[in-house]
């Protein structure tokens, strides 16, 4: 049987973002364009704008388990449970051996390692004081594994390392595993605990790519002339993915159908993006979906607020979409860059457009960079669009990785 065309749908969403711990509140924040970016104080580094999440960390597991695990695991467990709840799925609906957990990460272990080096610095760097928790906390499958332990899932679990394209990459993995009949349900998403690492901030700063502003809520401003870099955020989003027939059988609410996707590599530079390859990635995703640029209603951009990154993506979009007129927005302007969770959180923030027909705005643009002046860029205020059928979600990452996911409103 040819499973490659099997239809895969999103039936549940659990998330924690700066300013929201559920999809309805998140959507409200995005439509209102309300940023909760704040100044935080980082060890060694000092103050920087960042997106911090406030969510009920002990709703699904004890404080003791959160202390033992990682911040990433805590995010993952909360979002996985929330996703199942929003899907109306009991834990035992699917055979636990037939559930896969795929979690996208930009990086993992940085926070834990920095903390541990700091800890032994208090003991004159005597490694006798190095914690036995270090390895289980820093293995790359940690956040996915913490989800399986919390939910009793015995199917496959692993992390997808794809820099800031990782959220999309995990969704793609989930789709593929469902189509291969490796699993009957997938929990796929992305997690970022990056705000716990001074090194990530310091590295962006050393690269000249750390966003700043007098008012931290203005620090993330993709497409604006004055943009000066990335605002690092923590956050997570996990989706329930099912085969369409399984979802219909149990009468599930369908948030959207993943109809196209693509991942490719620039094969050029460690940090600089490359428009021609991004364009190829978008075109491949559209081709796989059997859609044309004219079919797309929203392009949710990856743009992070760096000078060159935003321009490259705009060039790529212009070359693929030409005179087609999708609306174009950017979620990072409101929530910052949630790294491994960026792709999935940004998609989640746009999925309700299928219900409310609105396109959330890109905020903090007072002087649009002419090199980013794409037609139908949604700036500062949301817009209503008559037709809302297709969302194209871009997520690109360092070392030259591009990912695109295309989601369509479900139609029988």
């Amino acid at each position: 049987m040819d499973n490659t065309q099997q239809r895969i749908v999103i039936t549940g969403v659990g998330l924690a973002a700066p300013g929201a711990d559920n999809l309805a509140d998140f959507r409200k924040k995005l439509l209102a364009g309300t940023s909760d970016i704040q100044e935080i104080d980082l060890r060694y580094f000092g103050s920087a704008p960042a997106g911090i999440c406030d969510f009920p960390e002990t709703k699904y597991r004890k404080k003791k388990e959160n202390k033992r695990g990682t911040r990433a695991g805590c995010f993952g467990v909360y979002c996985a449970h929330e996703a199942l709840a929003s899907a109306g799925l009991a834990h035992d609906y699917y055979d636990p051996a037939r559930i896969g957990v795929y979690i996208g990460l930009t990086e993992h272990g940085t926070v834990e390692t920095e903390n541990e080096v700091y800890n032994i610095s208090k003991f004159d760097y005597n490694v006798d004081y190095w914690t036995h928790h270090h390895n289980p906390r820093t293995v790359l499958n940690n956040p996915a594994g913490e989800i399986t332990m919390s939910l009793g899932i015995t199917g496959p679990h692993y992390s997808i390392g794809a820099a800031c394209a990782a959220g999309n990459a995990s969704l793609i993995q989930g789709v593929q595993m469902l189509r291969l009949n490796e699993v009957d349900m997938a929990l796929a998403g992305g997690v970022s605990e990056s705000t716990g690492s001074f090194g990530i901030f310091a590295s962006f700063k050393a690269q000249g790519a750390l966003g700043e502003a007098d008012d931290p809520r203005m620090a993330s401003r993709p497409f604006d002339q004055s943009r000066n870099g990335i605002v690092v955020s923590e956050g997570a989003c996990v989706y329930v993915l099912e085969r369409l027939e399984s979802a219909l059988e149990r009468g599930a609410k369908i948030y959207g159908e993943i109809v196209g996707y693509a991942i490719n590599s620039d094969a050029r530079d460690f940090v600089l993006p490359y428009a021609p390859r991004q364009a190829e990635c978008m075109q491949m995703a559209l081709d796989r979906a059997g859609l044309t640029p004219e079919d797309v209603d929203i392009i949710n951009t990856h743009a992070t607020g760096t000078k060159q990154g935003d321009i490259e993506e705009c060039k790529a979009i212009a070359s693929v979409f030409g005179n087609a007129a999708p609306h174009i927005n950017n979620t990072k302007s409101i929530i910052g860059h949630a790294m491994g969770a960026a792709g999935v959180l940004e998609l989640a923030g746009n999925l309700p457009a299928f219900d409310d027909n609105m396109v959330h705005p890109t905020i903090n643009v007072s002087h649009l960079d002419p090199e980013c002046a794409l037609p139908n860029l949604v700036l500062n205020e949301p817009v209503r669009r008559e037709r809302m059928s297709v969302i194209l979600n871009n997520s690109f990452g360092m070392v030259g990785i591009n990912s695109v996911v295309v989601v369509q409103r479900y139609t029988p």
Binding site: K62, K63, K64, K67, Y129, T131, H132, H133
Partner: protein, 83 residues
């Protein structure tokens, strides 16, 4: 440290690991592990905390001595007599 102080020290360390640990019904000569939500990683936390707080290096072969509250106190009493 007195035996009572050592007992409080051990309970304080366990409370740090699990702030929901219930000591009300703890039987001091029975294994901690059977009565509290503790596993082998938690015992390593106890060992590490003793190292951090009192510079005690507890060899692995002695870990079984930390099984119950009483056996902890018995084992630690000579080690912490000057603490």
């Amino acid at each position: 440290m007195t035996r009572d102080q050592i007992k409080d020290l051990v309970l304080d360390i366990i409370a740090d690991i699990d702030d929901e640990a219930d000591f009300e019904t703890l039987v001091s000569d029975q294994p901690l592990r059977d009565q509290l939500d503790l596993d082998s990683m938690d015992f390593l936390d106890i060992v590490m905390e003793l190292r951090k707080r009192h510079q005690l290096q507890i060899p692995e072969e002695d870990y079984p001595q930390l099984a119950s509250l009483d056996s902890c106190v018995n084992y630690l009493e000579p080690l912490l007599k000057d603490a």
